[in-house]
Amino acid sequence: MKLLRVKMGKTPTWSVEEMGAYAGTGGRNLTSMVVAAEVPADCHPLGPENKLVIAPGLLSGSAAAISGRISVGCKSPLTGGIKESNAGGQAAQTMARLGYGAIVLEGEQDSGQLYKLIITKDKVKLEKADELKGLGNYAAVEKLVGVYGDKVALMTIGQAGEMKMAAASIACTDMEMRPTRHCGRGGVGAVMGAKGIKAIIFDDAGCSLREPANPEAFKAANKVFTKGLQSHPVTGQGLPAYGTNVLTNIINEAGGYPTNNFKTGQFAGAGKISGETQADLEVRRGGSATHACHRGCVIKCSGIYVDKNGKYVTKQPEYETVWSHGGNCGIDDLDTIALLDRMDDDFGLDTIEMGATIAVAMDAGLAKFGDAAAAVRLLQEVGDGTPLGRLLGAGCAATAKAYGIERAPVVKGQAMPAYDPRPIQGIGVTYATTPQGADHTAGYAIATNIMKVGGFVDPLKPQGQVELSRNLQIATAAIDSTGMCLFIAFAVLDQPETFQALIDLINAFFGLSLTADDVSALGKKVLSLERDFNKRAGFTKEDDRLPLYFRREKLEPHGVTFTVPDKELDQVFNW
């Protein structure tokens, strides 16, 4: 694998290097290593010293099932700390097949000139992209497909990235050449905009699958791994049938569904926007409730959302999006939520951050909770770059500050996802302590087999929230480095043979003999790198906290506050 380093400036240049110290790494491990080693922690996130690192996972580009996640890392304009944001789509597979382990975008482009980076089997080109200026992701992709065809993979930014908004995302095209898969969190799109890169085109024509060191062992492990995913009730049945939005009803029932900007834990309109209702609607209208976001995905948790006339609107909105633009804003209309999702994807915005921001705006009196038309209008202001839109595009914390609202559900400046940490306190520990800012996926890899080596957890005994959160974060950091979708965690949790097959896949591909202990060590290493960067950027233990109102305001129906003591939060990374 090679490393492509692109230096932006008056006359942009690029060079292809050996991976060097980064050899044998991938995904989040690689992006965090580069950021920690090469980015001054005290730099401005939009300045020339920051770097945007793009890396496929360890197994991306191979025949390994569901290995198509791509990681993007940098110093975050939203949090001011280290950031890794990953997405599905086709980019990881094609970039890895082209033989690139990482792309590092350096310098800045302050003249307003935009470029496109074109990578083919034998060439790298950097060309001006005047024809793409000011375009949303959908229009930009359409133009690029007209030139480069529909077999390439694209990473693009929309208007939000060009305007360097802190909520800006980077879009990755899916199998249908739609910009629906986003590295959403932390404002990574703003950093790409600051570098002046509007689009990256991966054309892997003439390239083939990455070959494993031990083909027979790899094939055997992949077979067991795939079978494990397909036979598990979550990855084989629930997710393909309903997608992640199947969570709406149960989280609402548990009283942990943040409603009207985290004021209550249950939303009366939950059933109208649930995954079950959404899937029924999609199928009746001629869309689809089962769809893969990249080649090689065997779970197929996505879908196609169409309007009343059967016309494509957007991919199936995920649970987090349905919540952020739905219940959190008091909106119970799936068509409005799908439109907002489409707008986010087109402008290039993080759906979680924007839904949380609109809810804060509603709290500030800019609109009433439940006013769907107002939510669309506010989001349009962001895409148009009006003064109000610029403020909203800066995210939830900035908007709350501007309007004098205490109830900003953020940690390290990043909006919380769709689980209230008062009734579900364990996730509050992860929100508070992850180096990434409030992020449900930071402690997602529910793998008892991994946890056993990260610190043994006996399922028959009650365990502290802190120890579990620590182990979940370690396991997640490791899986984020493989390029595997985190949804593999469910099968790995329940089926020891599926977990072993994952280890066997990595070993067979690289000719290694890793054990579960090595996976745990990798996760710890990544977290340590990230914590150290944040410390150098000025973060202290006081940043590992939820906003105080979560300790003061009781959430109904359970009437609970967040009660995990600070001294316990401070123990999460003591290993």
Binding site: P233, I250, Q425, G426
Partner: protein
Amino acid sequence: MPPGLIRLSPGEIDRTDLLLKLQQGVFLHLPDVGGTEGVSVTAFLLEVLRVGDGQFRDEVRTMMLNSRVVDDPDTTWLRGDDVLVVSGAMPGLVGAMLRSNSPIKALRATISDAGGNQDSLSRGSKSGFITFKAFNTVLRDHFDDIMNYGAYGGRYEA
């Protein structure tokens, strides 16, 4: 039957409307089986879903009673006016937490049904009607079973 309830019939009501009603809650009859404890969650669901014990444990991975997780359905007893939720296995960290007897159940200790069986004994009548909600694959796979058991709604407006 309390006044105002009507039997929900698939032949008379659109299936999409019924799917939504089952998510939002329908009324099911809770029979009086004698004894002091009444009907357990397990016994009730075996009857409603028309499944054997093994299939029940395979398919019903998440149960909530009055917004609290049921970790031991065999010894959690139902009472009239309870709200019972059943679902297949849920995705996500929180979805995994909410599973009955999840290995990471400590993460949702605040809403676990600690000592629930004693609470249920003093909660109310052993029979009557409960509010029943079905999600995920349980809704998909047992829609007809629930309808056949007898689901009731209040003052249905088409």
